[in-house]
């Protein structure tokens, strides 16, 4: 089995108790240098150290083109020859921006540090010189031997050496890895089990000197390849010998493990992906816009500089007052200097204030999310949290929602809701589980509550010994399973590999058939208070192909019975001919399916002694066969046994969805958000959930991988797709409704997909036409791959939502990651941009907060660009009349205060308070959400229109004043204040027309801003300030005169009104035209709901399945009769004798 070392590529080595060996090779780093091989077990997700904070944060900040640009401006302004505006006008805001951001980064980093420290300082027991001592996680290293006790989180990837349980089995919960809450078993190698299990084990463990040779650290969670070299022998290692970091040890007293991978080498850490800073799309558009504007400004400045050179040349030739003013008498040099001066002068078109304000608004929007009572989850006392404060507007543009299943859509709580025994349905599936009135089960000492079914008649039948079928039904439930019972406080607590089984066994317990305990060869069940011991002869395990499991037991009376449960399709075809109640059972299945319940059929067969003997012999023969052959043989053999079944009944289990999930998905789909479900769970479960959470319509056709591959391979995928879509439809209904198709595929299939990157575009094209997509059995890395695929081939915003560590990667990869803060805090939230407590909160987060944020920020950006450009571009036109000399048309203080004081507050109010429709209406009309997806408000076209309007405004501002002041006695300073006044009026008028939601603050902001202009002008033009610093406040007395001059006022008013005329007219025309439109939206909305509900009732497909963990069921561990794998070969003699009579 074991290959040669050189061939196997097992280059990673972990030496047991080899602390010295490994610490010497530990990974270390200094600045950017790294050496060493083995990572320490400490997690470092923080970025800064005290030494590196300042350089790193500055480096990061100046990575932003905008900051660099502003720095350049400051530098330019410090050069006296070209400084058209004093340096402090830009410097002070820049410093504020830099320090605010640095502070924010620092705070975030501190939080990460604290988080890391909490993880790193968790304790576990390490074997140090013959005894276990408590150590912190961060001090572990490869080669250490650990003792993990029950319910402890495993601190690193371990090789299981032995455990306190028989055969060194142990159970782990992998919820944080793959989202499955059922228990998985792991088993130590037989040799380590035998040699290391002794009391006390410290001595044996300390002497253990095995060497693990395996693959280099990688991100494959379900694969481990390597071998253990010990005592001259080489043992093959597989995934089942490995305990992964992040899993939790359950049901096992102690487990001893050898650290193989630690810290960042752990498989789960390798799956986490890189920490990436996400920037919103709007910000990217903004950045592009900024670059565009800056380039335009550079070009304009160049043209103006050329103009200056020409003008200077002309002046030089003449003898006039200006000729001496040409720099060094060289027009070209003059033009060169003026170029830089114009860059400075035009730079306010792109003010720093934009970025500060942008950040402030984002922060406030994020706070609104945290403050929202409707996003507050009372039972957990947890409000929503926006952890990344720069993505709010993206929430209003989401096109794809990629959701995890377990813990996100479902609660992973399965409830036994109904059953059908002998054709009779008990329980009512249409009542919500919470509203079911509990039955009186006080007669049953083992009852622990939690049965959400009300069927008093059934109880009476059971207790009255009237109905043998129902008694047998529950006996089957109590016997046919792989559940383990653990005794706590006089009652059995069930530990099941599958939550379905737990629900079934639990239901049987409530109704009097209590599974008490099992040994290798018998099961003890208390039937209505009387204990019976059933001899377990064989356990025919579940596989995803068989879709059923059976147990063969010898009843206390001596009769042989086979109890079988499985998917309806499988069981129904194995029934005896003309079995009774078949028709009524079919109806029951239909009823259960309509109620979105998961069904299993339960059947029994009385096995004749002779056939058992024969079958047993064949089984024993099978057991010694080679693996591949054996499996098919076994399947055949099982199939032989599971024939001629007698139907007992049907169970109906509700996979509890999180509250409000179907409604939320329904609403999001109406908002044209594509919902994809990515789950590590198996296909049947996922599809089932898909139906019950309204993700899949009952009449939707499921397009599976085989079909999809054919379509993708065909010459014209589009045509094939249409064909595939219609085929099913024409077969089932004559209606000409558009066919609904959903894609379902699994992780391994996706792997095939990855090899053919050219399919990506076609696939996305098809997926866009599908209702939804279900991806099952995907690893965390694959989840991220899918997100990447969507991101690559569409330009829609993607959002990932999940709750476990397995979702971290996809949460990080998507544009927006949402972590559902479930029962356990979890890593998902740590890495998410938004943390919610419930899936249903997405409704309000997206449709209300997202939509509002998007609108507000779009308005804000457009308005901001408008106001700054319109005011700064005036200098271009003025240049034509002052010899392109980069003379400012404004007082420097006006330039400094315009964006900060005179126009900032109103637009802030809009960006904070604006609501076009109320939160309730937003939720009622999900159609409104589409404007964000299509970028109706923030698209390049809209931004260009705003810029065009700004250019027009600057023309108006200048030329109206020009016309008035041309050839008059008005001086430059009066003109400056007039244009400034007009600019302020224009900006205020524009915001007034933009504001649709006038709170008191809006009104105050507008009034105060305008008044501020007058007050600040009077202040900066006052004699007091002039006397302090004449050259900074040389506009002395201008406003005093100008504000009393009717011409100044009339000019400013005229210019302002002319400037806003286009936008006012546009709004007016929209008001005139739009009125009927609103009406339309209202009238069409309810119709779609009705339509879809009509379709729902048409032909619900039956959904019968059984959710167990990946791969084969755990049956072989429970009953080794069917197991021949090496791991179980060395079970103790006694059990081997009973379970393998032939051997």
């Amino acid at each position: 089995m074991v290959k040669d070392d050189s061939q196997s590529g097992f280059t990673w080595e972990a030496r047991a108790n080899g602390r010295g060996f490994h610490t010497a090779r530990q990974k270390k780093s200094f600045l950017c240098f790294q050496w060493g091989r083995y990572a320490g077990n400490a997690v470092h997700s923080h970025k800064y150290s005290p030494l590196t904070f300042l350089p790193l944060t500055l480096f990061e900040q100046f990575h932003r083109a905008a900051n660099l640009y502003f720095l350049l401006m400051v530098v330019l302004q410090c050069v006296p020859a070209i400084s058209s505006i004093p340096w402090y006008i830009t410097m002070i805001p820049l410093l504020v921006v830099l320090s605010v951001r640095a502070f924010k980064d620092l705070a975030n980093d501190m939080a990460r540090r604290r988080c890391d420290a909490a993880v790193n300082s968790r304790c576990c027991d390490v074997l140090i010189s013959q005894s276990f001592r408590s150590a912190q996680w961060k001090d572990l290293c490869v080669g250490d031997i650990l003792r993990i006790s029950k319910d402890q989180v495993i601190p690193a990837d371990l090789l299981l050496l032995c455990s306190s349980e028989p055969h060194s089995l142990c159970y782990v919960e992998t919820a944080d890895i793959d989202g499955e809450t059922n228990l998985k078993y792991r088993q130590a190698l037989s040799s380590t089990h035998i040699h290391l299990t002794c009391c006390p084990s410290e001595g044996a463990l300390a002497a253990f000197d095995g060497v693990v040779q395996c693959e280099e650290p990688n991100d494959r969670l379900y694969v481990f390849r390597g071998h253990l070299l010990w005592r001259g022998e080489c043992y093959h290692l597989e995934n089942e010998h490995i305990l992964l970091r992040g899993t939790v040890l359950r049901n096992t007293g102690f487990a001893y493990g050898l650290v193989v991978y630690s810290g960042t080498d752990c498989k789960i850490m390798r799956n986490c992906g890189k920490l990436k800073v996400k920037t919103a799309r709007t910000e990217q558009v903004l950045n592009k816009m900024v670059i565009g504007i800056v380039l335009c400004l550079l070009l304009v400045a160049l043209l103006l500089a050329v103009g200056n050179s020409v003008f200077s040349g002309g002046v030089m030739r003449q003898e006039g007052p200006l000729s001496a003013m040409v720099f060094n008498g060289n027009p070209a040099y003059s033009g060169f200097l003026v170029y830089w001066s114009y860059i400075i002068l035009l730079s306010p078109a792109m003010p720093i204030a934009l970025y500060i304000t942008f950040e402030v608004i984002h922060t406030i929007h994020s706070r609104f999310i945290g403050w929202d009572l409707q996003l507050y989850w009372q039972p957990g006392d947890r409000p929503a949290e926006a952890r990344n404060t720069s993505l709010n507007e993206e929430l209003g543009q989401v096109g794809y929602l990629l959701s995890d299943k377990t813990g996100t859509l479902t609660q992973n709580r399965l409830l036994f809701r109904q059953c059908c025994i002998a054709g009779e349905i008990y329980g009512n599936g249409s009542v919500r589980a919470e509203e079911v009135e509990p039955m009186d089960l006080s007669w049953n000492p083992f009852s622990r509550g939690g049965l959400h079914m009300s069927a008093q008649s059934l109880v009476e039948k059971l207790r009255g010994h009237q109905c043998p079928a129902s008694r047998q039904f529950f006996r089957a439930l109590a016997l046919c399973h792989t559940v383990m019972a653990e005794w706590k406080d006089e009652t059995p607590v069930y530990q099941a590999a599958s939550p379905d089984e737990e629900a079934l066994v639990g239901a049987a317990r409530e109704l009097g058939w209590v599974f008490l305990r099992r040994t290798r060869d018998c099961v003890v069940v208390s039937e209505l208070g009387v204990s019976h011991q059933y001899q377990l002869l064989a356990l025919l395990d579940f596989t995803s192909r068989r879709r059923r499991m059976s147990v063969l037991v010898r009843e206390p009376g001596g009769a042989l019975n086979l109890y079988c449960k499985g998917a309806d399709m499988v069981i129904l075809e194995r029934l005896q001919k003309n079995s009774p109640y078949l028709e009524r059972t079919e109806t029951a299945l239909q009823v259960f399916a309509e109620a979105c319940l998961r069904t299993l059929c339960v059947a029994v067969r009385s096995v004749p002694e002779a056939s058992w003997e024969k079958w047993r012999k064949t089984l024993a023969l099978c057991a010694v066969m080679a693996t591949a052959e054996r499996d098919t043989q076994l399947e055949k053999l099982y199939d032989e046994m599971e024939q001629d079944l007698q139907l007992l009944g049907v169970t109906a289990i509700e996979d509890r969805l999180q509250e409000g999930v179907p409604e939320t998905i329904c609403l999001l789909r109406k908002a044209r958000i594509k919902v994809w479900v990515l789950t590590g769970d198996k296909k049947e479960t996922a599809v089932n959930i898909g139906y019950s959470c309204k993700l899949l319509d009952p009449d939707a056709r499921l397009l599976e991988w085989q079909d999809l591959r054919q379509i993708l391979q065909s010459a014209d995928p589009q045509v094939s797709f249409m064909k595939a879509r219609q085929m099913e439809l024409w077969a089932t209904s004559k209606e000409n409704a558009p066919a609904k198709v959903s894609l379902v595929f699994t992780g391994p299939e996706l792997a095939e997909f990855e090899q053919k990157p050219e399919w990506g575009a076609t696939f996305m094209n098809l997926a866009q036409q599908c209702q939804s997509v279900l991806c099952c059995r995907v690893t965390p890395a694959q989840k991220a791959e899918i997100v990447k695929l969507v991101r690559k081939h569409t330009d829609a915003i993607t959002m990932s939502i999940g709750d476990g560590a397995n979702d971290v990667n996809m949460i990080k990869t998507a544009h927006i990651g949402v972590g559902v803060a479930g029962v356990e805090g979890g890593q998902a939230v740590q890495n998410a941009d938004f943390a919610l407590s419930q899936f249903r909160f997405l409704q309000k987060l997206l449709l209300v907060h997202g939509r509002w944020s998007y609108r507000r920020i779009s308005f804000f950006l457009r308005y901001f660009l408008f106001k700054t450009c319109s005011f700064a571009l005036v200098h271009i036109w003025f240049g034509f009349f002052n010899g392109f000399s980069s003379q400012s048309l404004y007082e420097t203080w006006f330039i400094a205060l315009y964006t900060v004081c005179y126009t900032a507050a109103p637009v802030m109010c809009v960006a904070i308070f604006e609501q076009d429709v109320s939160a309730e209406t937003s939720l009622e009309l999900p159609e409104l959400y589409r404007s964000g997806q299509q970028q109706e408000l923030s698209g390049p076209l809209q931004l260009c229109l705003s810029l065009l309007h700004a250019v027009y405004t600057s023309l108006v501002l200048f030329f109206v004043s020009f016309g008035v002041f041309y050839n008059t006695a008005y001086d430059y300073q009066t003109m400056a204040i007039t244009v400034a006044m007009a600019a302020t009026f224009t900006a205020s008028a524009e915001i007034v027309i933009l504001t649709k939601y006038w709170t008191k603050l809006n009104v105050a902001a507008v009034c105060v801003s305008v008044v501020m202009f007058f007050i600040c002008s009077r202040i900066t033009h006052s004699s007091f300030l002039f006397q302090r610093s004449p050259s900074d406040y040389y506009f002395l007395g201008v406003s005093e005169r100008a504000f009393a001059d009717p011409v100044v006022w009339l000019t400013a008013l005229l210019a302002a009104w002319t400037a806003v005329l286009p936008s006012f007219s546009a709004h007016a025309f929209r008001a005139v035209l739009n009125a009927p439109d609103k009406h339309k939206v209202h009238s069409t909305a309810p119709q779609t709901v009705e339509m879809s509900s009509k379709f729902t009732r048409r032909s619900p497909l039956r959904r019968s399945s059984y959710a167990v963990s990946q791969g084969e069921g755990p049956g072989r561990v429970i009953n080794s009769a069917v197991s021949t794998r090496s791991a179980v070969m060395m079970m103790d003699e006694k059990s081997a004798a009973t379970s393998k009579p032939a051997g």
Partner: protein, 340 residues
């Protein structure tokens, strides 16, 4: 009681205020055709009204503009442009048909003169001009190239001061062939703040002493302390003509107030008749293709004549009215079929 108790346990519960829940009371005006169309109409009418008022006012203002650059040979000032003769005097004759109502403002005007050029504009020293003698010795570097001459600092330094307009005018009314001097009032033509705060003479008597070891601007014929030797309150940096010149013009074509005619017989204006303007022609403008002119104008509430403003108001006002009509048509066309 239970709710009270529960409230206490939920430490993280967001507060339920109108602000945090985004339910601030607000006025949500809906723009509708009923508001928009009359609104535009009203604004349009208001603008037309203002425009008409402005135009009427502007038309009522009398303006007399005379170019005396002397580029044409027929111009009386032609000979002054010929050579570099100093103290060239030329006389411009004109007549006024009807009474030019007073008070009459007398302006000089320049064209193609870029007083708003940046380097020109910053070329002065505020500290010198507020009378700080320490800056007399070391003028600001902004004054370059009029900072120093012959190693001595220039006071007042800088291009603006240096290029001060130095033509002077005398107006005579010709009554029965005799020239009668029309008295000019040169007081208060500069801004109050300029005269009282922005420009101050150094506290020296005589003023001349403050200017020791300094040079007059190179283009000037006499130093600053001799601008008006007759009146100490009009001398030095607070000379009204100097102040008017120092207040930079907005655009390359401008006028600046020279004198007012408010005294004596001419209190009510310039009566009809023949006049002669004696110009001492010093200021060169031909070299940069500029022109010089003088303007007589009376003023109204809106200052001098300004047709542009009135016309612009009329145009914009009419546009608004047209817009409202268009909107009405659109409204009628698109709205009513919908409701049928």
């Amino acid at each position: 009681m239970t709710t009270m108790k529960e409230e206490g346990n939920y430490a993280n519960r967001p507060s339920n205020t109108a602000f945090t829940q985004q339910r601030l009371p607000a006025w949500q005006p809906m723009l509708s055709a009923g508001v928009v169309i009359p609104g535009f109409l009203l604004i349009g009418l208001a603008f037309i009204g203002i425009g008409v008022g402005l135009l009427i006012t502007s038309r009522s203002i009398q303006v007399l503009e005379l170019d005396y650059t002397g580029t044409e040979t027929s111009s009386p000032c032609y000979q002054c442009t010929m050579s570099n003769q100093s103290n060239c005097v030329c006389k411009l004759s004109f007549s006024i048909g009807t009474l030019f109502k007073g008070p009459v403002f007398f302006y000089y005007g320049l064209t193609n003169y870029f007083q708003n050029q940046r380097k020109y504009g910053v070329s002065k020293d505020f500290n010198q001009l507020i009378g700080d003698v320490s800056y007399f010795k070391s003028p600001s570097s902004d004054c370059q190239p009029y900072q120093r001459v012959n190693g001595k600092p220039i006071v007042p330094c800088g291009a603006i001061a240096n290029s001060m307009f130095n033509d002077t005018f005398k107006l005579y009314q010709i009554i029965n062939g005799k020239e009668e001097l029309v008295p000019f009032d040169g007081k208060g033509i500069a801004w109050w703040t300029d005269y009282n705060i922005k420009y101050r003479n150094p506290d020296y008597t005589p003023l001349k002493n403050a200017f020791n070891d300094t040079e007059k601007p190179v283009f000037w014929t006499k130093p600053a302390y001799e601008l008006d030797t007759s009146d100490a309150s009009n001398n030095g940096f607070i000379n009204q003509d100097f102040l008017v010149w120092m207040r930079r013009a907005a655009l390359p074509n401008f006028r600046k107030l020279y004198r007012r005619i408010t005294e004596g017989n001419y209190k009510d204006g310039l009566p009809a008749g023949n006049y002669s303007l004696e110009i001492s022609y010093n200021y060169p403008v031909i070299s940069f293709e500029g022109t010089k002119k003088v303007t007589f104008s009376n003023v109204s509430w809106m200052g001098g004549q300004n047709e542009f403003l009135g016309i612009a108001y009329l145009v914009i006002g009419s546009m608004c009215v047209v817009m409202s009509v268009v909107m009405l048509i659109v409204y009628a066309k698109f709205r009513f079929p919908e409701e049928d």
